[in-house]
């Protein structure tokens, strides 16, 4: 029998992406097959002639309604805009909403506001306007920006686990709800493009000079994107009490670590496979029950082959290949926001029965257990779908979302 106090549901999703603000915008853009990756024409000086030119930027970012100043970074702005979008329909429910918690992920946070001058003479850099900008550096600042902007009084926490951050924020928020730490939690991730990360990935030679081709044999690397997604999570009991519309059920979640290498994933994807299996165990479903996997799929040679191996392991015994796609092919890798944006896309897939293909996937990695989605959007009923994320340091997260009827 269902214990509605222990069933975690998603009642709203807010998104800021290169398609614009709102989940509808994201859905419409992706359903039309629009790719947001494009050469930036030296938007960030210092990267001329490098592989970091192709990105998915958000060019016109509005200011949140009020209370924004130099103590907020671009990452904060993205997060607050997504959170505002998520709670846009909550206007009449403020008293219960006030006790909500916030779990926000980021890897970049306030690095968007800092430049190399800080390393030469910090005191002088602070005197010349850097003091408030540096205050945005701690990752906790992103969660505080959301909490303070919406006037929330529950626990606030930031998660920074490289590219698994956004998904992990959702998993940790679900744990907090099970512990009754707050009546509802706004959970997600936010990251903006900045020279620091462009430079880092460029130095690692991990970037594709053209729009990326996840899971293709000819893939060359990733492209960076930016954005934010915030999910409103609560128990089914809480949602029922306030007559909220349930978008999806978070049926299972799991977190693991490869414990293999500081940056490279385990070649066989053992940690990621274990993570997916644990999420299925929590959801009490078998590998035949999952209808779609939204992959991490960065487009780097090492990640994609490890991930394909992980699917072979996690879905071994399945009666037919598991449909998999990487939606990073639409708007790049949004780092700490990626897992949250991909959770939003997975929820969309469940709600609309729409499985998004990987763009530019012409010659897929050979992986007999995987049905690589490419070409047109596939339409089919989708009771259960999984979103997986992995990051530097070996962290993995898997989330399983189900339709309300699941």
């Amino acid at each position: 029998m269902t214990d509605i106090r222990k069933t975690i549901v998603v009642t709203s999703v807010g998104v800021v992406s290169p398609y614009g603000i709102g989940l509808d915008c994201l859905q419409a853009g992706m359903l039309s097959g629009q790719c947001c990756l494009a050469p930036t024409n030296d938007l960030y000086p210092g990267f001329e002639g490098t592989t970091a030119q192709v990105q998915a930027n958000i060019s016109k970012l509005p200011l949140p309604a009020q209370g924004f100043n130099s103590r907020h970074s671009r990452t904060d702005r993205l997060a607050v805009l997504a959170a505002q979008d998520a709670v846009a329909n909550f206007a009449g429910e403020r008293p219960a909403f006030r006790e909500s918690g916030v779990v926000m992920a980021s890897t970049v946070a306030g690095l968007t506001e800092i430049d190399p001058g800080i390393a030469q003479d910090p005191a002088a850099w602070y005197r010349h306007g850097g003091l408030s900008r540096a205050a945005t550096y701690p990752v906790a600042h992103v969660a505080d920006a959301v909490g303070e902007h919406l006037g929330l009084r529950g626990p606030r926490c930031a998660v920074s686990v490289a590219c698994a951050s956004g998904a992990m924020a959702i998993a940790l928020a679900a744990n907090l709800l099970l512990d009754q730490a707050a009546p509802m939690i706004l959970a997600g991730g936010s990251d903006a493009i900045c020279p620091f990360t462009l430079s880092g990935f460029n130095s690692l030679q991990a970037m594709d000079p053209d729009p990326c081709r996840p899971f293709d044999r000819n893939r060359k690397g990733l492209n960076l994107g930016e954005g934010s997604a915030v999910l409103v999570l609560e128990t089914l009991a809480g949602a029922a009490a306030r007559h909220a519309k349930v978008l999806a059920v978070l049926r299972g979640w799991a977190m693991t670590n490869d414990a293999f290498h500081p940056t490279a994933p385990h070649q066989q994807g053992n940690g990621l496979a274990d993570c997916m299996r644990r999420a299925m165990e929590m959801a009490e479903v078998g590998c035949d029950d999952i209808g779609y996997v939204n992959a991490h799929g960065t487009g780097t040679p090492l990640n994609d082959i490890a991930e394909a191996n992980a699917y072979e392991t996690a879905f071994r015994g399945r009666s037919r290949p598991i449909p998999v796609s990487s939606t990073k092919s639409y708007f790049g890798h949004c780092l700490g926001a990626a897992g949250a944006l991909e959770a939003a896309i997975t929820i969309t897939a469940v709600c609309r029965g729409a499985l998004f293909p990987t763009l530019r996937l012409t010659d897929p990695i050979e992986s007999p257990g995987v049905d690589w989605l490419r070409g047109e959007v596939r339409r089919q009923p989708l009771p259960l779908a999984m979103s997986v994320s992995a990051g530097f340091g070996g962290s993995n997260t898997a989330l399983i979302f189900g339709s309300v009827r699941s």
Binding site: T7, S160, P195, F196, F392
Partner: protein, 366 residues
């Protein structure tokens, strides 16, 4: 719809069985020896790592060779935060008497709290960008600038394949990590958890505190005034081992009962609700998560538990860690041997309206 059917572990069955620390007291396994804390409080030392405009002081970790504490440990490419996390976690595991070769390491979690993350290498990366331009930065440094690097190194070194989580929370990052680690155990997402909290002090961090006017006159060798609300920055990493109670050979330092943290609301009411029957006979370890060594936390403690409560006052060396000081507060409080019974680890940020909050962890001391 399917509920989450796995039965949860009662919070009362979670115990803290191992402690390791790298702090201004040095690298230590277990409690801090009485001779180190019984005499006069630890004094801040002069900063020599960079050129200062006079005598500037802080609670600093004296340089040591990690390999002299943990044989075989390779830290040449790591920043101090990662190296200290490795040392502190190893000491905590040793202190708990756990042989990891006998443990299912896919069920061991690492939860790390940090305020500033790998700020040393972030500064180093900026220096390389300043010197060589953005297209000439060092590829080996970039991945190590990520805030989760220390926790990743802990998992890698010990072969721990369970959840690996790095969190930040203004004023309460350490409390948040402890609560979330306990949650992993409760919901059987892990069988054992290594909880770490800490930060390193760098020139950029210290000078930010100074420019923001947050420092105590004691940092500059002046006598602090009674109403002084500044603090002396500190550094270090403290690690705890959390596990379900009942393992033979385990020597619990404390049992974890419950935890709450919030950004507002009514701290007294919420904490009393959490305490239940325990409120009448309570030891309060009054930590101070916020960078303010004289915050009214003792008044809050009295308001929660009355005049009869034993209050272990905040310690400047832990308060100087700002967001991540709570585990060092707990270590200092346990080292002062406060007696048995219920204990509350309390942290509060009671500043301006936008800066309010509290964290409270209810423990049982054996």
């Amino acid at each position: 719809m399917t509920p989450l059917m796995t039965p949860t572990l009662p919070a009362a069955n979670i115990s803290i069985t191992g402690i390791g620390s790298v702090s201004p007291y040095g690298p230590l396994a277990g409690l801090i020896p009485p001779e180190l804390i019984a005499q006069s409080p630890l004094q801040p030392s002069a900063i020599t790592a960079w050129t200062t405009a006079g005598l500037w002081r802080a609670f600093l970790v004296k340089p040591f060779r990690p390999v002299s504490v943990v044989p075989g440990l390779k830290t040449r490419r790591l920043d101090r935060l990662s190296a200290w996390a490795l040392v502190a976690s190893t000491l905590a595991i040793q202190d708990a008497g756990i042989d990891l070769s006998q443990v299912d390491r896919s069920r061991v979690a690492v939860v790390f709290a940090t305020g500033f993350g790998c700020v040393e290498l972030t500064a180093s990366f900026y220096q390389s960008a300043f010197a060589n331009g953005w297209s000439g930065t060092d590829p080996s440094t970039f991945p190590e600038t990520l805030a989760n690097s220390p926790a990743s190194h802990v998992s890698l070194f010990h072969g721990l394949r369970g959840p690996n989580i790095t969190v930040g929370s203004k004023s309460f990052a350490a409390e948040s990590a402890l609560i979330q680690a306990a949650s992993l155990l409760r919901h059987r997402q892990a069988d054992l958890a290594i909880v770490l909290a800490g930060d390193t002090l760098t020139q950029a961090v210290y000078e930010w505190y100074e420019a923001a006017n947050l420092l105590s006159p004691a940092c500059f060798n002046s006598e602090p005034l009674p109403e002084d609300c500044g603090f002396v920055p500190s550094e270090g990493v403290t690690a705890l081992v959390l596990e379900p109670a009942g393992r033979q050979q385990a020597r619990p330092y404390a049992y974890y009962r419950a935890g709450r943290w919030a950004s507002g609301g009514q701290p007294v009411e919420i904490v009393r609700q959490m305490l239940g029957e325990s409120a009448s006979s309570l030891t309060i370890c009054a930590g101070n998560g916020a960078p303010c060594a004289t915050s009214p936390i003792i008044a809050l403690a009295r308001e929660i538990a009355g005049r009869a409560a034993v209050v272990v006052p905040p310690q400047a060396v832990a308060a100087g860690l700002a967001d991540t000081g709570a585990l060092l507060h707990l270590l200092l409080a346990l080292s002062s041997r406060p007696g048995s019974g219920p204990a509350l680890l309390l942290g509060a940020s009671l500043g301006t309206s936008g800066d309010r909050g509290f964290a409270a962890l209810l423990l049982e001391l054996p």
